[in-house]
């Protein structure tokens, strides 16, 4: 029988809270080095132009200016999956906001003043802003040299001499035959605008170029080892010559997953003879220079039989990658294999195109691709249910994945996947589905209910791995070294709980090093995709078991018994059934000393590792294969009230169910889900980039780009966490970090239809859009 858990599953307060409530926590923003200089940037005002000339003579003459750097001096191309980016624009600018010139100066004020004197002459080029237009033969080519770019072969398939950076196909069964035979068909289109992650700490990097082509970086990043690797590839420098420090990070949400300001900061330090250079993005640069979530235009076609069984589904996803697709290609890929929702679809046809345009480029954003595609799929499910005259819950239940089904990539669905049906059932019950909402007091206010399913698997390479080291201290305490980053999720606290559980020592005696440092912290791929607690948890379990093996081995010799006879409990090792012979860890952690002074063993250092297992590349023609280490399923249900005079939506109740497998820390899990739900509310109701016809970004500030504030939280929120265990997950856990925000817009869109009877297909569902549609209907009637 399994031992009752002491620390795992308990609502432990976060490890880093005290540092953060006292202001002691140091972020990259807060760091400085002796002799450090500061950088500022000149950004392109054009979406597409040739750089004819750059006159920086006045800037160079300004006292305090140390270097002016342009793209011509930087013959590097970089990127994660697709090497399509320059550090600074070289000959052409491809989006408004692209960095063109960098100035390094003694102070930030001087650097900014110098930037204002720089005269860049542009010759405007044709541009393309709509990704569907960008797919046409006549469209301006954002990257005429696409066919020459290095990329991850066998996984991504750029189409030479087009704007298509990647085309992901899913082909299962026979869509054409099945749709022709379907009793009922439904087709619709949906749109998501690009949005920003909005980490409260903008991107920031300090770089120091060292002799012998070595470098040291301090950076606000989610992925120290990926930064190191990509810097190594970009500059042709060995990995060991690059040291990356990641101190406290003020939020990431995917926006700090790939390369950010690191290459720029390094070349600037190199340009000033190795003095450290700090580059901090302004909030405006965070919006219009650094990457965002890609926009999406989707078309969904569904065929179903009268009994409610979906027989065919076709989806076309056209991603607005913006000017670069180095990370975006993977979003197009992941969104395709998730692109039919958590349903059993035997005849499925999906095309997912990642398309270059002349706009700020895209990258990973919490649950990448999924909020976007499920905005279409989960709205389509409600529409199809209506077309069939079925209840949306009953219709979904008819089609949700169940054991024995296969996913659209041919993966068998098992009980170990969790239980999407249960997620749906519990949110439906919690929102009192089936009974109409209460009538509001005001005649001009109407209410509606809606729900939506969600799912996501970590989107990561088939070889994704993670490792952990645990060192025991003189006092028998444990130090965890790991290089996944806790930028707010709470994973480090959870890893401490896991280590305490495994090592059988009090939680207070487990420490984790908060600054990641590639010189000391062992390898982890990236902190993305809701995979850190899963993979890091498994690595920590293995590292702890390694420590215990060493402890048992030494204790066995000390006690003259077999190592198999030794058990570890309460920070001590003893022969089973003889706790009176216990040797505390502090007498074993550095080695054991007999009474006569003879010593054995040595410092206990455990290491553990985890690598994704059994994943396969997807077949380029059919998309069949195993892309997912695990899936996490969930559902939201919402009740809203709409003011028909203002278009304002109030969220009365929002219920979220997620099948977490095992909740490792209910307090942190709950906090993360609430945070994700509210972020999803931002995508649903307010957030979206606005561009003018010339590709100028019109709302790169909080006054014009609204994110949720404390005044916007729903009247009530509820969380229901299911625990159908994940085989292979630490204590049965699966990732839940991204999922809460997925399908929030879908549930609200469905509720809005229920309230108003108006179909909205474009996000965000802001007051103006809603009011305009209400008035159109009033005018028409």
């Amino acid at each position: 029988m399994a031992r009752e858990l002491t620390y795992v599953g308990k609502p432990v307060a976060r490890d880093d809270a005290v540092d953060k409530v006292t202001g002691a926590a140091q972020y990259t923003h807060d760091l400085g080095l002796p002799g450090m200089l500061h950088a500022a940037l000149v950004l392109s005002p054009h979406a597409s132009a040739r750089i004819a000339s750059i006159d920086a003579r006045d800037a160079e003459a300004l006292p305090g200016v140390r270097a002016v750097v342009t793209g011509k001096q930087l013959p590097y191309r970089l990127g994660l999956y697709m090497q399509d980016k320059r550090i600074l624009a070289e000959d052409t600018v491809r989006y408004q906001g692209e960095a063109v010139v960098a100035v390094v100066a003694d102070t930030l004020e001087t650097a900014r003043a110098a930037c204002r004197t720089i005269d860049v002459t542009y010759e405007p080029l044709p541009s393309v802003l709509d990704p569907r237009e960008a797919m046409e033969d006549s469209a301006h080519r954002v990257h005429p040299d696409l066919h020459t770019y290095d990329h991850m072969e066998g996984v991504f398939f750029p189409k030479p001499h087009t704007n298509i950076a990647h085309h992901q196909k899913i082909r299962k069964g026979s869509f054409e035959e099945a749709i022709a035979a379907a009793d009922v068909r439904w087709t619709g289109s949906f749109d998501n605008p690009p949005v920003q992650h909005v980490p409260m700490e903008t991107h920031a990097t300090i770089a120091q170029a060292l002799p012998q082509r070595r470098m040291e970086l301090w950076t606000s990043s989610q992925s120290p080892y990926t930064v190191r690797h990509l810097m190594s590839v970009c500059f042709g420098i060995p990995h060991a010559s690059i040291r990356v420090h990641v101190p406290y990070v003020g939020g990431g949400f995917g926006g700090k997953a790939g390369l950010g300001l690191e290459p720029l900061a390094y070349v600037l330090s190199d340009a000033v003879g190795g003095r450290p250079v700090k580059v901090v993005a302004t909030r405006e640069e965070e919006f219009n220079m650094l990457p965002s979530r890609q926009g999406l235009h989707s078309t969904v076609e569904i065929g179903a039989n009268r009994d409610g069984k979906i027989v065919a589904l076709k989806a076309t996803y056209v991603w607005d990658a913006g000017a670069y697709a180095d990370y975006g290609v993977n979003i197009g890929r992941a969104a395709a294999y998730s692109g039919a929702g958590p349903y059993c679809i035997d005849n499925c046809w999906i095309d997912s195109y990642v398309v270059y345009t002349n706009k700020v480029y895209g990258t990973a954003y919490r649950g990448f691709g999924h909020l976007e595609v499920l905005w279409g799929i989960e709205r389509a499910m409600d529409q199809m249910a209506r077309a069939l005259g079925m209840d949306p819950v009953a219709f979904r239940s008819r089609n949700l994945l169940k054991p024995g089904d296969t996913t659209i990539t041919g993966e068998p669905f098992t009980p170990g996947h969790g239980n999407p049906q249960q997620c749906l059932d519990v949110v439906a019950e919690a929102i009192d589905w089936g009974s109409p909402p209460d009538s509001p007091d005001d005649a001009h206010r109407v209410r509606g209910k809606g729900l939506a399913m969600l799912h996501k698997a970590p989107a990561m390479p088939t070889f994704t791995s993670c490792s952990a080291v645990i060192k025991l201290d003189e006092d028998g305490a444990a130090d965890i070294l790991i290089s996944g980053v806790d930028y707010g999720q709470g994973t480090y606290t959870v890893l401490r709980q896991v280590a305490a559980e495994e090592l059988r020592i009090p939680l207070e005696k487990v420490h984790i090093t908060w600054e990641c440092d590639t010189a000391f912290s062992p390898y982890d791929w990236q902190t993305v995709a809701s995979r850190f607690a899963y993979m890091g948890g498994n690595a920590v379990i293995e590292a702890a078991q390694d420590c215990l093996r060493q402890i048992r081995s030494v204790a066995a010799r000390a006690l003259d018994v077999s190592p198999d006879a030794i058990v570890c409990e309460d920070g001590a090792a003893f022969p089973e059934g003889q706790p009176e012979r216990a040797i505390p860890y502090e007498q074993l952690s550095l080695g054991y000393t007999f009474a006569n002074g003879n010593s054995i063993g040595g410092p206990v250092i455990g290491h553990g590792r985890y690598i994704a297992t059994g994943l396969t590349h997807l077949d380029p023609e059919t998309g069949q294969g195993l892309p997912a280490q695990y899936w996490t399923y969930g559902a939201h249900a919402v009740e809203i009230e709409v003011d028909t005079q203002t278009g304002e939506i109030e969220i009365l109740n929002l219920v979220t169910a997620i099948d977490a497998g095992k909740v490792l820390n209910p307090k942190l899990c709950d906090g993360q889900i609430v945070g994700g739900v509210i972020q999803g509310l931002g995508s649903a109701l307010w957030e979206g980039f606005v561009f003018d016809e010339n590709g100028r970004f019109l709302n790169p500030a909080f006054v014009d780009y609204k994110i949720p504030t404390a005044k916007d939280i729903p009247r009530r929120t509820q969380r229901i966490l299911l625990e159908n265990p994940q085989p292979g997950g630490p204590y049965g856990a699966r990732g839940v970090a991204e999922h809460p925000m997925i399908s929030i817009p879908s549930a609200i869109g469905n509720a809005l239809y229920d309230a108003l009877g108006i179909e909205f297909t474009t996000l965000p569902l802001d007051y103006e859009r809603i009011l305009r549609r209400i008035r159109e209907r009033t005018d028409a009637s």
Partner: protein, 165 residues
């Protein structure tokens, strides 16, 4: 350059500052009080909130010279003698911290609220932090933390009244 005298967290600070230096720059760059954060630099996010003569202000929008002769409180002054304040402890206990970048500004806004209203309603709490953006927590836990601090402070006051202290 202008000579200013500012009381920061109870300490008298004298400095000569450029006319253009913001209070935020003065605190962070001159006094190395980096607990106060810059989230936008244009007064839209509240991360730089400090108290000026007891009232919350966005220090990125104030000049250092405007603080001359006045009193400034920052997050570094919140814990006394190594003991977390009631507000700080409530933020820890309520799980109101995630990435932590907005936390100092949130706490200073809440401190400002308590200085003008010892028993704020939920609506007043929400109003007090409406100008402080947080992207991680969804605010629920932050509101709960301030409510918790309010209740603990009021309970302590009531106990003090009963005990005649």
């Amino acid at each position: 350059m202008h000579d200013i005298r500012v009381t920061v967290n109870g300490h008298q600070e004298s400095a000569s500052v450029p006319a253009t230096q913001t209070l935020l720059e003065f605190l962070r760059d001159r006094l190395a009080l980096t607990g106060t954060k810059e989230g936008c630099g244009i007064g839209e996010c509240g991360a730089c909130t400090v108290l000026l003569d007891g009232r919350p202000v966005t220090s990125c929008l104030m000049l250092a010279v405007e603080a001359d002769g006045r009193s400034v409180e920052t997050i570094e002054g919140e814990a006394v003698g190594g003991e977390l304040s009631v507000l700080q402890q409530a933020f820890v206990d309520a799980g109101a911290v995630q990435c932590g970048f907005c936390t100092p500004g949130m706490i200073m806004s809440a401190r400002g609220l308590f200085q003008r209203n010892a028993d704020p309603s939920d609506e007043e709490i929400v109003e007090a932090i409406a100008g402080n953006l947080c992207r991680c927590t969804g605010y629920e836990a932050i509101v709960a933390a301030i409510r918790l601090a309010r209740d603990r402070l009021n309970a302590a006051t009531a106990k003090g009244d009963r005990d005649g202290t």
